[in-house]
């Protein structure tokens, strides 16, 4: 197996164009597991860790452009306030060692339905930037995932960045069920964003792909008392929970049953909505 170490993005894209079979490796926390277990035997590995621009982020015009190779630990430390939802999800990924290496780009590359960043990327309306020698394209996160561990990424493309709105007055929540209290793959998860009279809702590990729940988003946009300071009525929370639960298409597996996943997402929907609404009202009041 060859180990290719490009110094620049241009070089990396040229390599990928020539050798679409070369497997990109960022933190390696998914790739190395597959190699160690011989689940995958690529002709070449394309090391992305020397490409400086993949490991940087910048903020402008209300957006963060997060390089695909920024490890979780840095994201949590440097962007915890700017991207609170993504930081919450990042905190739940693996252990400190995994967070030191693992990246959002890698989470997207793996495209596992259980990947922790996906519900947040979907809920905040992130865009994924994909580049190849042919050019650059940006696609909404909703269009990225196409099946279990499959995405629209073309063989000659690399994920270069993720574009996410700065939270500002938005309230962001991420919540994940696991059968132990740390370092666990999600049994199911939920991302929720409330921003300017609109809502973003997405679930993970409850369908073949991470999934946005448009019905629940529309319900919240229409029914939340956006201009009212009162606590949310239980009936509204319940209805929201039902809409989220109805959007699941889970399976029974060794991590949990389908019924449990659906039930738990209903509970998480109610709770995260309560927390997000409190935060949202708080931050809107603070700015008023």
């Amino acid at each position: 197996m060859e180990f290719v170490r490009p110094d620049s993005l241009q070089e990396a894209l040229a390599t990928k164009a020539e050798r679409p079979g070369a497997v990109p490796i960022a933190g390696g926390t998914d790739v190395m597991v597959e190699l160690n277990y011989d689940h995958r035997r690529p002709e070449a590995l394309l090391d992305l860790t020397r490409i400086a621009e993949l490991a940087t982020w910048s903020a402008s015009g209300g957006y963060v452009r997060l390089g695909a190779g920024v490890p979780y630990t840095r994201l949590i430390d440097e962007l915890g306030d700017t991207l609170p939802g993504l930081a919450m999800a990042s905190r739940t990924v693996g252990s400190p060692q995994i967070r030191n290496r693992g990246t959002v780009g890698g989470n997207l590359g793996a495209a596992s339905p259980a990947g922790d960043t996906h519900p947040v990327l979907l809920a905040v309306g992130a865009e994924i930037e994909l580049a190849s020698a042919r050019g650059v394209r940006r696609i909404p996160a909703t269009d990225f995932y196409t099946g279990v561990k499959r995405s629209v990424l073309e063989p000659d493309e690399l994920i270069t960045a993720v574009l996410l709105p700065v939270a500002g007055t938005a309230a962001e929540q991420f919540s994940k069920i696991g059968t132990r209290n740390a370092m666990v793959i999600a049994v199911c998860s939920l991302g929720l964003v409330l921003r300017d009279g609109r809502a973003g809702v997405a679930i993970g590990s409850a369908a073949p792909t991470p999934r946005r729940v448009s019905g629940a988003e529309e319900f919240l946009a229409a029914e939340l008392p956006w201009d009212d300071d009162a606590p949310l009525p239980d009936s509204l929370k319940r209805r929201f929970a039902e809409l989220v639960a109805a959007a699941t298409e889970p399976i029974d597996d060794v991590r949990g049953t389908a019924d449990y996943r659906t039930h738990a997402l209903g509970v998480l929907a109610r709770r995260t909505l309560t927390w997000a609404w409190d935060d949202y009202r708080g931050s809107v009041r603070a700015c008023a």
Partner: protein, 765 residues
Amino acid sequence: MTSTTGGRTAATTVNGVGTSPARPDGTRKVRGEFAYSSDLWHEDMLWGATLRSPYPHARVTGVDIAAAVAVPGVYAVLTHDDVPGLNRYGLEHPDQPVLADDVVRYRGEPVAVVAADHPETAQRAVKLIDVTYDVLDPVTDAEEAVRGDVAAVHPGGNVVRHAAIRRGEQASQADVVVTGRYEVGMQDQAFLGPESGLAVPDGSGGVDLYVATQWLHVDQQQIVAALGVSPEQVRLTLAGVGGAFGGREDLSMQIHASLLALYTGNPVKMVYNREESFYGHVHRHPATMYYEHGATRDGRLVYVTARIYLDGGAYASSTGAVVGNAATLGVGPYDVPNVRIDCWGTYTNNPPCGAMRGFGAVQAAFGYESQMDKLAAACGLSPTEVRRRNAMCEGTVMPTGQTVDSAAPVAELLDRLDAMPLPSGPSRDAGVADLRSLPGGVSNTTHGEGVVRGVGYAVGIKNICFSEGFDDYSTARVRLAAVGGEPAVTVQTAAAEVGQGLVTILQQIVRTELGVDQVTILPAGTSIGSAGSTSASRQSYMTGGAVRAAALKVRGALLSHAATTLSRTAAELHLDGGKLASAADGVLADLVDVLGEAEFDETVEWRHRPTEALDPETGQGNAHVQYGFAAHRAVVDVDVELGLVKVVSLDCVQDVGKALNPQAVVGQIQGGSAQGLGLALMEEIRTDGGVIRNPSFTDYLIPTVLDMPPMNIEVLELADPHAPYGLRGVGEPPTISSTPAIVAAIRAATGKELLRVPVRPDHLI
């Protein structure tokens, strides 16, 4: 730790018994410099790999190795035809093929082995071996296996052992009767160091094997039989062991690597990866248990009836001993006049099960402690009160008829637990609590919503050392001489240090008995007699006892020698801090001067008092050497809407007779309790039709630091007069009571019956 010392207050030697000196291998382990068995290396070394059956039950109709042999770099591809001796091995019965011949009986059973010049090459060759199978229906239900409703997995039928215990009235009646059917899932030892070792051929038909194991001599016996050589031709040396917990009592790669080494004439190393490790060692027996407890209205036990089924999987391993423990300890640490227990260990096509910390006792404890809580509820008593009313004590007669002849402080353990302060209540203020203190942890599933607290108690009992008439002994050699102007002792045994700290304890014992600071523990190997297994909480007792006895012989000889040199009588001399002294005149001489060129070298084979076999009809007999007791109180917060659990506190009181090394004792209690927490909440090998569904640490979950709470631990030291220093084995008891205490706490929080461990989130909603 609060240490409560009962009895003697002998002056302690510096770094001797009763102190907590640093481990001799501690620094290297913490710095990552300790060589584990997977780090072994030899020039011209080949790598071994194993082909395993993909089916839990199948007839092997053909094995074609041609394509594998043709791979460049492959030195050997061996099948059962290449096993020169007996193609069977096993701890209690030689029923397991070294390499499958006609039938494979579990998914993962070794069929062929390969040696190649690179591990990748070996793996590739393994994939090229073409085995044809005639797939058979797997037998997967232990109760059906006992009833004989299914095919026989082995020619003699599916019952490996049935143990019956009959005591008192066999048709008792009582005012209050509680019944239950309980299940324990298949736990794994989950040691971190995978099975590994290095076999080096000696050029004359023999082999030196460096391996991580628990019992060198029993490995040696089985290897010798399979290779068809004489015992002197197979020499074992213990390599660095990365955890064991029972999982290394059976052979894994030992015979395979030796076969390959003898065949190729090259050293052969084998290392399993994590997935292969799940197929490469035995697990804890899953259990199904039917219990009936009868009691008076005030909660005094009249009788206990139990039927216990333990699934041993494809091969016997230590199933017989597991059955013996579950049967003899099946009513728990209680005084019960009338007992009827039947316990079966079976063959099925599930993964083989064998030794794991607390075996037999762990499974039974989940049953009898769940029953004691049911009884408490039925009688309107608190969980501790019902246990106190039935608590056994010194003098109690066990269901086997054996009278307990040393401390059995069950009531005291409960009293002390009750006296420990409870943690403060759960935080219900949304947003205030640290997420890490809540069920779900940083996964942010609750800010206090749905969280209900529960408290639960449990007590456990374990036999220490080998039981049922087994000739249990350990061999130790202690040598004292002056080295570089200092008195120095070397200690040689074949006892496996598996992380528990025996190497530290042996140094401490020698320091106490000989007053010599510099003590070196030589690598364990078969060049000395057997030490028995590092299991059954027995090594401090047995190898500690043997080293002490050898040190005492050295002392005797030394004092006679010194008496002549110093013109004293041996009786008036003693050793202290590298000096010889008498009570009357104080220090008389430096030990090093008295030693001169002399050398004192003693080897001792040491036994505990004998035990008896159980009567096969009635299960009566003085089967056990010593009993160990621990009790836990668990406090849990349960998110009752999501079924997630946070164990808030897990406090423990245990009697250890004598804490030879108080820090190591606490370490054992913490580790054992964590392993019990794992069984309560998450640790289970899930099988489907005999196939393991989660052979990885991604899906076989073990507790993390956010799952295991800090513990309050009280250690009692009620000396056992029969044991060296009065000690009582420490390693297993805390694993036993931890699980039922946690489940009891979850029941208290949720009101759910919870008849199975591990408890999963969907059981709670």
